[in-house]
């Protein structure tokens, strides 16, 4: 009996987490008239969370993919911003994380403390200083204004350092005795063993930059350079019909990465040990 109650509670909690997402996907198959009725908040009717489309249709997806190129362009802006940032951050971070976790050099721990402080400072704080420097470098109104600072975020270093710490020192020492260079150790021993960490970083970094809102608002003057994450916030009334299809299209890349890597994502190693 107790077990059944527990299972019901578990399903209930899970349902709360999944509901908004499932609801959105269901809505993306509704016809535009049903959507406009649902999102018309001025008609004085209470909305019910109807998951079943009155008429199953792919109209929304057809509109987004073939009729409304402006949304696809915004989608590509998101890709242009996110892809280089993720690749850059993963590469830069894995090199630095290796040094911070396994190599000795002067000021290592003091330097790492600065990295942690930088990690915790919110974006809004670094936005101002960044704006000043980007202005001097003439990079405003350029996608690099988001890509470059994103690449050097300290988040990845803190994350990967933790995974690398779990690799026993003895395997590195053994390779040293055999005459392997640190670079060789890095590519042959470290990288293959931190696959889980790399995937976790790729996913978290991707989500973070995919959702970027603050920087484009400030760095870009042209609305045409805005990524989809900003545009979706002010889709006008006339476009309500496609809003859910846009949402689904926008979440697919994140979900693909998640389902590709979720078996390797092991969060148990991120205890900060003393």
């Amino acid at each position: 009996m107790k077990k059944i109650i527990k299972c019901i509670f578990l399903l209930l909690v899970t349902a709360i987490f999944l509901f908004p997402v499932v609801y959105m996907i269901a809505c993306s198959f509704m016809s535009s008239s049903q959507i406009s009725k649902m999102l018309d908040f001025a008609n004085g009717e209470y909305k019910d969370l109807n998951m079943i489309p009155e008429m199953f249709t792919l109209e929304q997806f057809y509109q987004v993919l073939f009729r409304r190129p402006e949304y696809l362009l915004k989608f590509w802006n998101s890709v242009i911003i996110t892809l280089p940032t993720v690749i850059g951050q993963v590469v830069v971070s894995s090199f630095a994380a290796f040094a911070f976790a396994k190599l000795k050099f002067p000021f290592r721990d003091k330097l790492f403390f600065i990295y942690i402080v930088l990690l915790i400072l919110p974006l809004q704080v670094t936005l101002v200083p960044n704006y000043i420097i980007l202005d001097n470098m003439n990079l405003l109104n350029n996608f690099l204004a988001i890509i470059l600072p994103g690449t050097f975020s300290t988040f990845g270093i803190c994350l990967l350092r933790q995974s690398i710490k779990y690799i026993p020192d003895s395997s590195i020492e053994a390779a040293r005795i055999d005459g392997a260079s640190y670079f060789r150790i890095f590519t042959r021993i470290i990288i293959p063993q931190i696959k889980g960490g790399l995937i976790t970083l790729t996913l978290l970094c991707f989500i973070d930059n995919w959702n970027v809102v603050e920087q484009p608002l400030i760095y870009f003057e042209e609305n045409s350079m805005y990524p989809l994450s900003i545009t979706m916030a002010d889709i006008s009334n006339s476009d309500y019909g496609i809003i859910f299809a846009c949402g689904v299209m926008f979440m697919i890349p994140a979900l693909v990465i998640y389902f590709y890597g979720h078996k390797d994502i092991n969060l148990s190693i991120y205890d900060i040990e003393k």
């Binding site: 997402v21 609801y23 190599l103 000043i132 420097i133 979900l255």
Partner: protein
């Protein structure tokens, strides 16, 4: 060159790319920012920018809201996710389906869900429909003090699953023998949690806390998605203040606001550090 020196040099080469980037995009700009906050135009004015900021009503409002959000949302998320993690831990095995379901809210982009939240929270939305049938007055989630409640709900919903997974990982590392020993000494299940579990997972709690702080500042994205640049006064955060001041490019004011925000964070962190140290030493 000695071998030790050579090793230092290689280590340094590994860190170099990141070091250059950090210096250019974070450290140097940050120093510039501190300097700018002490000037108006070309004139050195000391702390006047800061004093002016504190007599600015919008800034005070933004600061107040940010403090309220941080003080309420972070402990709330911590407690809820810890309880759910304890609950999950009482199962022998959890299907990976549930793990995925818990992580989905973090994975799904903010912008995708705006309309869903609108249908749920609007004056004529699902929740108000339900309240109406129960005979309760409409709650205006988008234009009253309940906005803060809504934003806190969205924040907890989004990050709860992620924190639960982190907590369950921590719980799995607590040795079973500790519980058995405590049980033999006659501890009840409440004492088991407070005297064994909580002290044992302090490092995890600390990591969850860091994550929560980092993400609490990203709640601006939800606020922006739902309200645009000018949300109502109950959820006008420091981030909104800084963003809106970009449009009139008031560098001194922006810089000093950023510095105050960083000091605010560093204080929270220090408090937590001290609290954590005390807690783990008393055990």
């Amino acid at each position: 060159m000695t071998r030790k020196r050579k090793d230092y040099l290689t280590a340094f080469l590994f860190v170099l790319p990141s070091l250059i980037g950090i210096a250019i995009f974070y450290v140097v700009p940050y120093i510039i920012c501190i300097i700018k906050s002490l000037y108006i135009g070309q004139e050195f004015v000391g702390l006047i920018n800061y004093i002016q900021l504190f007599s600015n009503n919008t800034f005070i409002l933004a600061l107040k809201n940010t403090v309220i959000f941080t003080v309420v949302a972070i402990p709330l998320l911590m407690i809820i996710s810890f309880l759910i993690a304890l609950f999950l831990n009482s199962f022998k095995k959890i299907l990976s389906f549930f793990r995925s379901a818990f992580l989905i809210p973090v994975v799904v982009p903010v912008a995708s869900l705006i309309c869903v939240w609108q249908v749920v929270f609007d004056d004529y939305g699902a929740i108000n429909g339900l309240l109406n049938t129960l005979g309760i007055d409409t709650v205006e989630f988008f234009s009253s003090e309940f906005s803060m409640g809504m934003i806190i709900f969205i924040y907890v919903w989004k990050y709860c699953g992620f924190c639960v997974i982190l907590f369950t990982a921590g719980l799995a590392n607590v040795p079973k023998s500790l519980y058995e020993g405590a049980k033999l000494d006659g501890a009840n299940s409440f004492q088991l949690v407070t005297k064994v579990t909580i002290p044992m997972i302090t490092p995890t709690t600390f990591f969850v806390f860091l994550i929560e702080i980092i993400y609490s500042f990203k709640i601006f994205r939800e606020v922006f998605a739902l309200f645009g640049n000018y949300p109502n006064e109950h959820i006008y955060f420091l981030q909104n203040f800084i963003n809106n001041n970009y449009y009139n490019l008031n560098y001194p004011r922006l810089s000093s606001a950023s510095i105050i925000l960083s000091v605010f964070i560093i204080i929270i962190l220090l408090v937590f550090f001290i609290f954590e140290r005390k807690h783990s030493f008393s055990e």
